[in-house]
């Protein structure tokens, strides 16, 4: 029984990421994202800030909130719509159901993995 449910669970999990805003695990208060996610902090990926700081996004005004939102619209794994403001053509042409990050390295944003 459980085995038959696995594909359903996986599909619905994708649906959750695609459609839902997430709950940030902690109260964000007035804090900037970097306060907790600074380099060396193990809250999430400890390299996340260092990686981001080297990315084109950090040099061209795409900030944490551009993709991850704030309290009311927080996305731990941003859906494709969050990429649309700058990458609308690519999204329109891409027929894959996979999220952008499946091929594009999160935070360093090389063209392809």
């Amino acid at each position: 029984m459980f085995k038959t449910l696995i594909p359903v669970v996986i599909m619905l999990s994708f649906a959750l990421f695609a459609f839902a805003a997430d709950e940030h695990p902690d109260d964000m208060g007035n804090k900037d994202c970097i306060t907790c996610h600074a380099d060396g902090d193990a809250v999430s990926n400890p390299k996340v800030v260092a990686e981001y700081n080297q990315s084109i996004h950090s040099y061209s005004g795409v900030m944490c909130g551009s993709c991850h939102g704030d309290v009311a619209n927080f996305s731990a794994k941003p859906p494709k719509a969050k990429c649309e403001p700058c990458h609308a053509e690519q999204i329109a042409k891409n027929k894959s159901t996979l999220p952008c990050e499946a091929c594009h390295v999160v935070h360093t944003f090389a063209v392809h993995k």
Partner: protein, 795 residues
């Protein structure tokens, strides 16, 4: 919460059920449902509302509201990319603080809702009374590089042709006036000769007075990509701060604020001393002058001897070897492009700083060919198109032409169908003079009694605010805006404005490109376009014939105003005759002037035969030699030359001393824009940069016993801020930095800034002041994301 197999299963099933039933899981879900992008009814073409890059956008509309933004991939400015600000415009448009009704201040000091008729009748009566009692120059209009071209043109026409008054200026005076005067004095004509397209051909970038990565992030992406594609491309950054822009630089030239003039001169000296200059170019296309006499290259070299790199190093703190290296790269690259912004313009020697950068291009022949151009960046979306090109400043007429010129006045009087002599030959007041002259009716020392302020926030953005607030409070002040601001706190009448996507109109960005925004949605409540407001005031003050575009259909009114404007400049070098509304509507990339006909593609390079259509224009054709491939035709002497200026060295108006030992410089951060009235209302943006702070070098912090987060008073001769300290190595020791977006009074840095102005451009020296620092306490949470929400709140 521990994520067990059972809880995951339950959550997934619940989510699946919710999705299947079409129930949004959280607030944002509606706006971002499809995996392929935002769900909208339509995408409407427009331009970004923020900086001067001019990013093309599509505005997503659903149910009559703007719900999403995306970049226009066909736009030649941004190729589809947006920054954090541009992508979130829809997030503040419907903020509950939006002004939706005209409001008139009552005797008790509070505002009361009024009808449009009541508000417009009051304004017109007051202004008419002032004109009768105090003369035509007692009422001013203070506009903005964020109004549309049609709006700036219309108010300019109303004031200069209708009232016969030149009391019209705008906030580009505070950001671009030195660039305008720099272009005018060097080339005889405002605005760059090249365009952004030079970025992709440049082999050396000289970025000075610009934190491009934060202030023009989408443009910086183009520079970043250029360097990535060709690592041999050199990037030189000359700045007092080692900002994110410097991260990709090959060379950072650190300078004390205000001393960069010496570096520019020193680079010129190194170039000539080492014979890296282009003697043939200078001989054919330039004039070595101090503004009066003409000199030889040998004279120029002698003049520059005082700027030997070793000597300059002592004045500036910039290493001599780096000055020499920068000079060599600039001269020998084959295609050097300079980009600068407020760091050069907002200075008491802003015009000279501009001239000196132009000098570097002229002595090396780095102009008039791909990748080689001195390019001034603008901070607002329509400072160039709206205010500079329509001449909506107190000394100009449309086409950025000086109103002291009798021929220009005569042409404009004819075009505007007003009697000869209607346009006053005497320029009106510049911005700082205007605000210094504002006051109460019974104050004989204050000649300005009333003012309309549109789409800008001088009660926060003027330097040395303490000097100017009372005048704004005492005078009859009308403010047109979309949100309560520090300036509405001083207003007598507040008029609710339609936002750009609620009215449409043309914006002209830094690269001479005019782009049309279509109206996408209706404005909320009773908010109205500025154009409609101007027409209603004109009608009530007996000037209705001048502004016949008084209809409710904003796009029709826009088209009439645009056509009227472009007809007045069709025979000038800034002609947009070919940029008809039909063409602008159909084009996905806009039009770059000069563009004399509908079949002309627009101009990539000015002053170059084969690219610049002015070479074939009837008014210019006979004045340009047939064999001239490059000709600076605006040259007042008719020789087609640009001026290489002899300039002396001068530092800032105020430099550190024993009492005020630090340099203060101010600027933008990437998320916030201007005084934060729009960006401060977007939660993600407010979180990233909620409050101002003071950046202090660790060496200085140690001496003053200041630790990270400690509260510090930043005190100048004019005012004080109390700010949390950030201890960083971004600035040189002895230089502190404060961003300018915070609306909380104790953190509004313009109370501290200097209002000394450049003698030629009248632009104030925001960028340099002398301050002292005093630690006043330990860390305090000031990340309150403070914004002015209550229209009845006090200043």
């Amino acid at each position: 919460m521990e994520l067990t197999r059972r809880s995951m299963l339950k959550a997934s099933l619940a989510a699946g059920a919710a999705v299947a039933l079409g129930i949004p899981l959280k607030e944002e879900a509606n706006a971002q449902t499809a995996a392929t992008g935002a769900e909208v009814d339509k995408w409407v073409k427009g331009v970004c509302r923020f900086c001067g890059t001019g990013c093309g956008v599509y505005v997503g509309v659903k149910g009559g509201k703007v719900v999403a933004m995306k970049g226009n991939p066909d736009a030649k400015t941004n190729f589809g990319y947006l920054c954090v600000k541009g992508s979130m415009i829809h997030r503040f448009m419907y903020h509950p603080d939006r002004l939706t009704s005209p409001m008139i201040r009552q005797a008790d000091g509070n505002f009361k809702k009024a009808s449009w008729n009541e508000a417009l009748d009051l304004i017109s009566k007051k202004f008419t009374d002032f004109h009768k009692k105090f003369g035509k120059d007692s009422v001013a209009y203070y506009g903005s590089g964020q109004c549309t071209t049609e709006e700036s043109y219309t108010f300019n026409k109303l004031w200069k042709a209708g009232f016969g008054s030149n009391q019209i200026d705008g906030n580009p005076r505070l950001c671009m006036a030195s660039a305008v005067a720099g272009f005018l004095t060097t080339f005889g004509s405002d605005e760059p000769s090249g365009t952004y397209a030079d970025i992709e051909s440049a082999k050396c970038f000289f970025l000075t007075g610009s934190n491009t990565s934060e202030a023009h992030p989408v443009l910086f992406r183009r520079i970043w990509e250029r360097k990535k594609k060709d690592p041999s491309v050199k990037i030189i950054v000359c700045e007092p701060r080692k900002t994110k822009t410097s991260d990709i630089a090959d060379l950072w030239l650190p300078v004390d604020p205000g001393t960069d003039l010496a570096v520019f001169q020193s680079m010129a000296y190194e170039i000539i001393k080492n014979n890296w200059h282009d003697a043939a170019f200078i001989e054919k296309h330039a004039r070595l002058t101090d503004g009066e006499k003409v000199f030889t290259l040998a004279d120029f070299k002698k003049h520059l001897e005082q700027f030997d790199a070793d000597k300059v190093s002592k004045i500036t703190r910039c290493p001599a070897k780096d000055i020499r290296q920068a000079a060599e790269w600039f001269a020998k690259s084959g295609a050097s492009m300079s980009l600068w912004c407020m760091g050069l313009n907002q200075r008491s020697r802003g015009v000279w700083a501009n001239n000196l950068v132009h000098n570097l291009h002229l002595i090396t022949g780095n102009i008039g060919k791909p990748g080689a151009d001195p390019f001034s960046l603008t901070g607002q979306p329509n400072a160039c198109g709206g205010v500079r090109e329509t001449g909506a400043l107190s000394h100009l007429l449309p086409g950025c032409r000086p109103l002291v010129n009798p021929a220009v006045r005569a042409q404009m009087e004819k075009a505007w169908k007003v009697p000869a002599g209607r346009i006053d030959p005497k320029p009106g007041m510049d911005t700082m003079a205007m605000f210094a002259s504002l006051g109460a009716e019974n104050d004989a020392t204050k000649p300005l009694k009333g003012m309309i302020i549109s789409t800008t926030n001088p009660a926060q953005s003027l330097p040395n605010l303490n000097k100017y607030v009372k005048g704004m409070q005492d005078a009859f002040l009308v403010v047109i805006d979309i949100f309560p601001t520090r300036t509405t706190q001083l207003a007598d009448v507040v008029l609710p404005a339609a936002f750009i996507y609620e009215k449409g109109g043309v914006y002209g960005c830094s690269e001479r490109r005019s782009q049309l925004t279509e109206k996408a949605v209706n404005p909320p409540g009773e908010a109205k376009p500025d154009l409609w407001i101007a027409a209603q005031i004109a009608k009530r003050m007996g000037q209705g014939k001048l502004i016949p575009w008084d209809m409710d259909d904003s796009m029709k009114a826009n088209e009439m105003a645009w056509t009227d404007y472009t007809s007045t400049t069709q025979d000038t070098e800034k002609t947009l005759k070919g940029a008809t509304y039909k063409r602008l509507r159909e084009s996905k990339e806009g039009v770059q002037w000069p563009c004399p006909s509908e079949t002309h593609p627009g101009t990539y390079k000015r002053y170059v035969r084969g690219m610049d259509p002015i070479f074939d224009a009837p008014a210019y054709k006979d004045k340009i030699p047939a064999d001239a491939s490059l000709f600076f035709y605006p040259d007042g002497k008719g020789e087609g030359r640009a001026n290489i200026f002899f300039r002396a060295y001068a530092g800032a108006a105020e430099v550190p001393d024993k009492e005020y030992p630090f340099f203060l410089t101010t600027g933008r951060v990437v998320e916030q824009w201007h005084t934060g009235t729009m960006t401060g209302r977007v939660p993600e943006i407010a979180r990233s940069h909620p409050n101002a702070y003071v950046e202090i070098h660790p060496d200085d912090a140690k001496k003053l016993n200041i630790k990270a987060g400690d509260m510090v008073d930043v005190i100048s001769r004019r005012g004080k801020n109390t700010l949390p300290a950030r201890i960083v190595t971004v600035s040189l020791p002895g230089v502190v930095f404060v961003p300018m977006h915070d609306q909380a009074k104790e953190r509004m840095i313009n109370f501290v800034c200097n209002d000394a102005v450049d003698g030629a451009s009248k632009e104030p020296e925001y960028k340099i002041a002398a301050v002292r620092l005093v630690r006043v306490g330990g860390p305090r949470d000031v990340a309150d994301k403070y914004i002015i929400s209550d229209l009845n709140s006090k200043y």
